[in-house]
Symmetry: D2
Subunit: 349 residues, 4 copies
Amino acid sequence: MVKAKVRVGIVGYGMIGCRCADAVSLQPDMKLIGVADAVVDYRIKAAYEKGYEIYASPPERLDEMSKAGITLAGTLDDLLKEVDVVIDATPAGIGARMKAVYEKAGVKAIFQGGEKHELAGHSFVAEMNYETALGRQFTRVVSCNTTGICRVIGSLHRAGLVERAWAILARRTTDPWKAHSRATLDTMVPEVHIPSHQGPDAQTVIPDLPITTIAAKGPYTISHMHFAVVKAPRNVSKEEVLTVLDKARRVCFVDTADGLVDLASVMELMKMLGRPMGDMWEVAVWRDILSTSRDEIYLVYQVHNLAIVVPENIDAIRALTELESDPAKSMDLTDRTLGVKESFFTRAG
Amino acid sequence: MVKAKVRVGIVGYGMIGCRCADAVSLQPDMKLIGVADAVVDYRIKAAYEKGYEIYASPPERLDEMSKAGITLAGTLDDLLKEVDVVIDATPAGIGARMKAVYEKAGVKAIFQGGEKHELAGHSFVAEMNYETALGRQFTRVVSCNTTGICRVIGSLHRAGLVERAWAILARRTTDPWKAHSRATLDTMVPEVHIPSHQGPDAQTVIPDLPITTIAAKGPYTISHMHFAVVKAPRNVSKEEVLTVLDKARRVCFVDTADGLVDLASVMELMKMLGRPMGDMWEVAVWRDILSTSRDEIYLVYQVHNLAIVVPENIDAIRALTELESDPAKSMDLTDRTLGVKESFFTRAG
Amino acid sequence: MVKAKVRVGIVGYGMIGCRCADAVSLQPDMKLIGVADAVVDYRIKAAYEKGYEIYASPPERLDEMSKAGITLAGTLDDLLKEVDVVIDATPAGIGARMKAVYEKAGVKAIFQGGEKHELAGHSFVAEMNYETALGRQFTRVVSCNTTGICRVIGSLHRAGLVERAWAILARRTTDPWKAHSRATLDTMVPEVHIPSHQGPDAQTVIPDLPITTIAAKGPYTISHMHFAVVKAPRNVSKEEVLTVLDKARRVCFVDTADGLVDLASVMELMKMLGRPMGDMWEVAVWRDILSTSRDEIYLVYQVHNLAIVVPENIDAIRALTELESDPAKSMDLTDRTLGVKESFFTRAG
Amino acid sequence: MVKAKVRVGIVGYGMIGCRCADAVSLQPDMKLIGVADAVVDYRIKAAYEKGYEIYASPPERLDEMSKAGITLAGTLDDLLKEVDVVIDATPAGIGARMKAVYEKAGVKAIFQGGEKHELAGHSFVAEMNYETALGRQFTRVVSCNTTGICRVIGSLHRAGLVERAWAILARRTTDPWKAHSRATLDTMVPEVHIPSHQGPDAQTVIPDLPITTIAAKGPYTISHMHFAVVKAPRNVSKEEVLTVLDKARRVCFVDTADGLVDLASVMELMKMLGRPMGDMWEVAVWRDILSTSRDEIYLVYQVHNLAIVVPENIDAIRALTELESDPAKSMDLTDRTLGVKESFFTRAG
């Protein structure tokens, strides 16, 4: 007997929503029913161009959106009747209002990192706690920075190498689509509160991760850079750290010796590798920068602010809907269909 | 009888070379033999990852490049023996040195806009002068900005609407891969010489185009913005101008009303449309900004600094090799295989 | 008999207000009574540090502002009782609400370019129309860009050299104090409407100036760059144009040959010349870029977005209050006290 | 008997040289003889405008520099005959070549942080090791970042609060005068080597400072931001740390609550306070960001990349020439003449 495909809706067709829609479309065990949004601008027109069904959310937007020259498939309510699970990719804070709507409609939902842990009652990073999400109605894929921390520092932690960790997060200011008027320029802006929220947020996934984070935003639009100092419980060698990270899923090495000297050149590599939207789903750890000194480990890594959560959302669908109970099998399928790699250069050294 | 495919080599695997390699690979009447470059960095590793054959150019680089963990297919000399035509996408000024090599090897070559018109003796924009390149050994695809001018102002000129034209070119400072240390930041840099070279350069393609250009570079990495003032020989309406540009090939409209309010949002649209590398081969003309006043036309348009010349290189191959003598047929094939559009939104209004 | 000093208040202590306060303080015929603002942040603390009297505006802010550790001199009403004239440097649009307050208090007021011409019924550029402001209750110092256009293109116009003019205004995105979150980054943003408001705005000062402006904002915080094309009624030489601009007040030449190659290097020169706040009150016209071709003139010039209106505000005080009926005498005094130059290098060539 | 003034020359009139020239001019116990440079551009023209004597360095530049419209006072050799001490503010690496020239001329010299410690045999931060420079022929004022580390982390260290420290240095990419073509844009660039040189460099001043630094450069031109994590030998309170830093010389607090939320707003404050060139000689430590947790201290502070070393150079002159043997007296005089503060707001809270 063939298992029926899980029916998925995307609510909020912004920069995460559009990526999730494409990713769902690539899954053999899922069917994208449609995407819901509140306005018809170039983003929705691009979705329509791809043939995605468009739903009005909130429903009262239907009339106005219909005037924009596209044929709508219905309202959010119509979409919710057709789906098993939604990815809520609405702007931060809106998800909190949507939860009741999903509850009423009886659909499962995956929120994003802009929402609080308490909203979903569960926070998700596939490699770390897939099992605990099995069958739940809600989970929350944690933010890009938190996901990056979990993959990298979490992997070192699982290998017993983290007695204490600190990470400075030099975040990108805003996405390109808002860079016309909402960006930071020629300055660096520290966050007022230390620890920044990402440290405690990582602990919603890995409760005993002893990390403190300090954040700032800088004038760039493309991904974040983390500088981490890890104190190990004993002396460690660079080779030992590399071995742990090499085995960590969705973590890849880059080397300045290859010309990958900054955030932008790594992004160029993604384009040259043919990645859709130039995306990097993996965390890129600089291999030739990574160093150790006695019991201390120093790392610099790059986190794509949008793409990194896409495979996590796909896995979260499988966990909530129990499409797949084995985390590794879900992640293998996600990674294969999307093109997530364990190494950017599989042919060359 | 099946016509043999034209055998193509790419010399210089930078940001134009890599795009041309992918574009050649998509052509039913061409075969990509390989790409030549002087170093093995992330760019060449990405080419190798795609399965392209890598050649060392200059030949004396063979040994060092071989040490980088990839298997080379040979030297430039080996490549030239295998091909009918090369796209020379080496850095500006290098092409001038390569011409003799191509002549000696008896291969046709297409240079890029960084080289002087005199090097090739012919400058190329498909829509404007494809026929004059038929059977030549050399041509030069003019630079991104010049190509943009030819498509937009050239189309108005062909429609008899240009008595005089001026364009201010607000150029991007550098490509992302060099943005770590070679960029402009928080300032605008005017070019010292007026007219800037793009005006006279456009006249190598359209000799009687009465245009003067003023250029400056600004702190952005993603495409150029042109501000053009055109004096027509008579009063013109906005509708008349839109009709001409709507018919111009490889020119598309964008509207701020769709949220396409700046260079960056148009680039986001390209990603959302699934364009490889987020590329925009077309010139984007702002439709709701375009205006006229009596005999004057005001236009703002966007030129992608790398992608715009890719379809031109493909057409230039067909012209030089006489694969196709009908310009429209060549351009139709190029546009269909690459995905070049006459309108970004074909379903929506 | 000694003429009593004019008593001046500054309403709105932002980036223009603070400069005007300092400039008023330097005038032998004016007395700065105090500055009014609505919050106590670093700007007001800096004013207090200088010894300026601080007034709460609106009055209901008095209590909250008093808690911030500074001693207030009173409310706006108190200030208005003490002054003959105010410089209203409140954010754009607030001035429109303040006019009634000034009328009721019977004080003269100078609004800034963020307000509409109609609010004041008169728009002011000292060199162009000082006389027409004599004795008025209100005027408006036009915006930085409009002031720049009036000084440069207006001077050419007065010399009979402008049959038609077009200017592309590549504006700075925002001031540094807002650059943490309100800026443009890595993109260029065209204004939707052509002509942009600066052209018509210049005509409120010089009614018959035949100019059309096109504007865009770019990712830089320091001053604007204008690219102007002027069609003269006859053939002109570069020397003739230079002679006219050399005589224009508050216009100085810069040369790329001196290393002054962009907006930022000219700003560095201002710092090196010891200008307060690194200010440039003059328009900087690139002398070695300026060129002519038959009856066309091409100019590139730089307009400081804050400083340029400071001498204009000082002159406007003298005009409204009739402290000085001779425009040249007012401007001479303003320029001497502030340090405004006709040439940046008075000793060297 | 009146002590003769120390006679000072500045070699290299760049962004540090020009500041040092102005600072020397303000000292009652020093006399600026002149400045030496190799070209006549806007920087030298600005120096000439101020009335500084200009010398050609190297001497063979005399003829060419003389053609630029300024009257030279002689060559470097002439300058060296007239001075007791020079501040060598030549580009990094040039100082190493100049040492022999100074030795031959028998003048004392102060090198900058671009030179190696070994060149001078002594590295200088006034508050930390003034005494050890007394009477030496050479010293080196360490770089801006190293000076900042010494003042802030060094002060905590002297107070017994540093068992271990790590600092991430988010450096500005380049100075504004080079921002037209040598900058970083829309990306962050990590330094390849960990520890970055500033940690070991600080140890040339404070040998037992247990710090490791990680550096990166970001796309901004105005000062650096440091993120420091300090592990104390015991639990510490925020109040205790604030008390130590409050007493540290040339360290001032800033608060986000005052609107000082980023590098740029602090720079705006400097302009509003009337600082020459908008300079900040002090390190600005964010008071309301600073926090502690048990035995850990987290700090974010800002280091002006040019101004911070100016008072250090002045003190170094007094130390080398033994004008003043008491460090505190030298620093008091320097701070009073320049306007260096222990608090930016002396009147307000």
